[in-house]
């Protein structure tokens, strides 16, 4: 808890940053005191990440001042920031996949050189991993490329907290739990609270409002490049935050129409049995159903989705798919976006064969198609012909949805597509999914956020590559899901 007289570690005054015509930061005042954890919330595109990049020194502001420890900084940059004790863990992981865990630790600490550096680096990172995530199972000689994404995030976070020469004053965490399961997320947040109690400071950016409310001393809300609300955490609750962030409309539970049971007389669209399944349990999806895949992250959900995706082309005895399949990727950068193309081209790529006139693609049809989907998905952009990267993350995800929904696919697989997406976008997409399901499309939805499972008719809980529970809508509670995911598989 920070008292009124606590020292201010870092202060940003009137910071501005433009990217071309986009005003990412429009005059922001922001400060963090010693011994406090500041939660930073806002929609995608509100400017949170940009502000943190300025704070960490990786982006130079166009205007405004930065003061660290009371001293104004001129020519502030990453190296200086590190020396002053500011560390950050960004959403895009900063590990080198071809190096080992220990070598990655060395990268961040220029002081780890000379004879025996490898042992020292290894000890350093291992000690920190043990401190934050007891029972982590990571070795300093592990090559990062071989680690699952949850473990990679653990390494990245632990590395940010390691100290050699420079002190640790402020740690910025941008969506730190997005790839962690609930157990490790809990360990991390508990650690952050300990560190803050010990006198250091933290900035926590998260879309999980519950997380922010529970772990921050103070909360700052951003919208459209400006700070619109800032107060002690106790003064906020979920609804107040959502209102301040600017999401209009009903809270998540409003849609009671889901109560209607899906008729199981509808034809079976997908039948799939995970490779490791010994007891014959399988995932069955009927037309018009929304099926959830849950459980701790990295326990076989994505593998099954991929197997189903491949199963549309090649039938195997494990997988049966009776209609065209589309997949919406969660890792946009790696699995979804074509970065040189426009928004329209990205949306239309799955349906391109149908947009022809004769042998050639018709530009008019393409543009019509794109415009229709922009409207339907409510993609916020001044021009559908702009490059896809001009969109915010949430809108990019909408474009990927449009690509899948605009195609002839009757089955849509979703690989945790809402990671790092703002609440407003999420709500719009949930509604769209429900609508499409009513019209006969089938959705298979892997998500790491148990809240989202409320949209599903059935939830299959995974553990160690097997289905361990099959919960119907009526039986669905957060406790039940978590409970089954921790049970030993049958």
């Amino acid at each position: 808890m920070a008292d009124a007289g606590a020292t201010v570690i870092v202060r940003l005054d009137g910071v501005e940053k433009h990217f071309g015509a986009v005003r990412a930061l429009d005059g922001v005042d922001f400060s963090v005191s010693a011994g406090e954890c500041v939660g930073l919330v806002g929609h995608n595109g509100a400017g949170k990440s940009t502000l943190m990049h300025v704070l960490a020194g990786t982006l130079a502001p166009d205007d405004g001042g930065i003061a660290v420890g009371g001293a104004d900084q001129i020519g502030y940059a990453v190296v200086l920031a590190q020396r002053l004790g500011i560390r950050c863990v960004f959403q895009e992981l900063s590990l080198c996949p071809n190096l080992t865990v220990a070598e990655n630790a060395r990268i961040n600490h220029a002081a780890l050189k000379g004879l025996g550096w490898r042992r020292r680096a290894g000890d350093l990172i291992l000690a920190k991993l043990d401190e934050i995530f007891p029972g982590h199972g990571i070795g300093p000689g592990d090559v990062v490329r071989d680690l699952p994404i949850g473990k990679r995030q653990m390494v990245e976070v632990a590395r940010a907290f390691t100290v050699t020469v420079d002190p640790l004053r402020l740690v910025i965490l941008d969506e730190p739990t997005s790839s962690l399961d609930s157990q490790t997320a809990g360990q991390l947040l508990a650690f952050v609270r300990r560190v803050v109690a010990g006198g250091a400071s933290g900035v926590l950016i998260s879309h999980l409002l519950g997380e922010v409310l529970e772990n921050s001393d103070r909360i700052v809300v951003m919208r459209d490049g400006k700070v619109v609300a800032a107060d002690r955490a106790a003064a906020f609750d979920r609804d107040k935050l959502v209102t301040a962030m600017g999401a209009a409309g009903k809270p998540a539970h409003a849609d009671a129409e889901r109560a209607a049971e899906r008729p199981t007389a509808a034809p079976v669209r997908v039948r799939a049995r995970p490779e490791r399944q010994a007891d014959g349990a399988e995932l069955v999806a009927h037309e018009g159903e929304v099926i959830g895949l849950a459980g701790l992250s990295g326990h076989g959900q994505t593998e099954l989705l991929l197997a189903i995706f491949n199963g549309a082309a090649r039938r195997t005895d494990r997988i049966e798919v009776t209609a065209p399949v589309a997949l919406v990727a969660g890792d946009r950068q790696a699995d979804g976006i074509f970065p040189l193309w426009s928004i329209g081209q990205n949306i239309g790529i799955r349906s391109i064969a149908g947009l022809r006139k004769g042998l050639l693609i018709s530009r008019a049809s393409e543009e019509e198609f794109a415009a229709a989907w922009q409207k339907k998905m409510n993609i916020r952009t001044p021009d559908i012909r702009n490059n896809i990267l001009s969109l915010s993350g949430g809108n990019q995800q909408k474009a990927l949805f449009a690509r899948a929904l605009g195609s002839d696919a009757r089955i849509v697989l979703m690989d945790d597509p809402m990671r790092g997406v703002d609440i407003g976008t999420k709500r719009e997409v949930y509604e769209l999914i429900r609508q499409e399901a009513r019209n006969g499309r089938t959705f298979l939805w892997y998500t790491t956020e148990t809240d989202e499972l409320e949209n599903c008719d059935h939830v299959y809980v995974f553990r160690n590559g097997r289905i361990v529970a099959d919960l119907r809508r009526g039986e669905l509670t957060e406790e039940k899901v978590i409970q089954s995911s921790f049970q030993a598989a049958g």
Partner: protein, 315 residues
């Protein structure tokens, strides 16, 4: 003014500007003598670079690491096949061409087989294939002294108002290739695969098929080039294609196609081909030695790419 601005904004314009500059420099040296002849000769030779350049452009657009290094060997073998099948008879020209195209197509398909079945990186696959093709060519073409059919040979050097017929045909071909690139599903899918192969697969694109078609296309164009070169230079030989390895890559890159894949520039291939050929012509006009010629060509390539700069970083 806006016309100039749109022109300047096009990436391919610079290769044409370069070609123009070189031509002017050469004319300045000769005092205007032979300016027209220089252009005609340049067009004649540029044709061969464009044909394989287009194939190479499609391959390079498939994404990082994709390049067809088997072109020289391909051209060499196809020229020998064409000459042997045509056997100096004009009526056999069509069949000879088909045979050369077929050879090239088979080579392209074999390249892809290595890449796909054995998961060998394209650079090594096409390189290894080129070694094998070279050996086939050496033993097949042993003692080959066959001249091309007179009608065919004449056709390759025929001109209409100072412009070689081959150049006109190649221009039409390039326009066709441009349409394929920008307005067909195949072309769209190639650029998708080149930007993000994983996303392409997950978007339901038949990545393997697209790559197969592209390598086969490049091979076929190599075969065509081999036949035409044999006609133009009046005979086949193993080394006839040697300069086209570097030339095919250079015209693609100098012409503005992205080496990282996903962005092809077809007019640029023409501009770059003209530029390179005129550069060599200019150097010949200046009477420089082989060493200086190589030196200047190299420095120009480095200079051009430095001036143009690379792909802007995506952040």
């Amino acid at each position: 003014m806006t016309l100039v601005r749109t022109l300047v904004g096009r990436p391919w314009i610079w290769s044409f500007v370069g070609a123009l500059a070189v031509w002017l420099a050469a004319i300045a040296f000769t005092g205007g003598y032979g300016a027209g002849g220089m252009l005609t000769a340049a067009l004649s030779l540029a044709v061969f670079m464009v044909i394989v350049g287009v194939g190479q452009m499609f391959v390079i657009t498939l994404g990082p690491g994709n390049v067809d290094l088997s072109l020289p060997a391909n051209i060499g073998l196809a020229s020998a096949v064409a000459m042997k099948v045509m056997d100096g008879n004009d009526p056999m020209v069509a069949i000879g061409l088909v045979a050369a195209l077929g050879t090239g197509m088979a080579i392209g398909a074999a390249n892809y087989l290595l890449i796909w079945a054995l998961r060998i990186p394209p650079i090594i696959a096409t390189l290894s294939a080129s070694f094998i093709i070279q050996s086939i060519d050496i033993s097949y073409g042993r003692g080959l002294q066959i001249k091309p059919p007179p009608g065919f040979a004449d056709f390759t050097i025929t001109q209409v108002a100072g412009i070689p017929i081959l150049a006109i045909l190649t221009l039409l071909f390039s326009i066709g290739a441009g349409i394929v690139l920008h307005r067909t599903v195949y072309g769209r899918l190639v650029t998708a695969v080149g930007q993000n192969i994983r996303a392409a697969w997950l978007a339901g694109i038949p990545v393997g098929r697209i790559r197969f078609l592209t390598y086969t296309l490049s091979g076929t164009l190599g075969g065509l080039n081999g036949a035409l070169l044999a006609g133009y230079f009046r005979g086949a030989n193993v080394d006839i294609g040697n300069e086209y390895l570097l030339a095919s890559i250079a015209v693609v890159v100098i012409g503005g196609t992205s080496v990282a894949g996903g962005k092809a520039n077809l007019p640029g291939v023409w501009g770059a081909a003209l530029f390179l050929v005129l550069l060599l012509t200019m150097l010949n006009t200046f009477g420089v030695s082989a060493g200086v010629r190589l030196l200047v060509t190299g420095l120009v390539i480095v200079g051009v790419i430095t001036a143009a700069g690379g792909q802007k970083a995506s952040r």
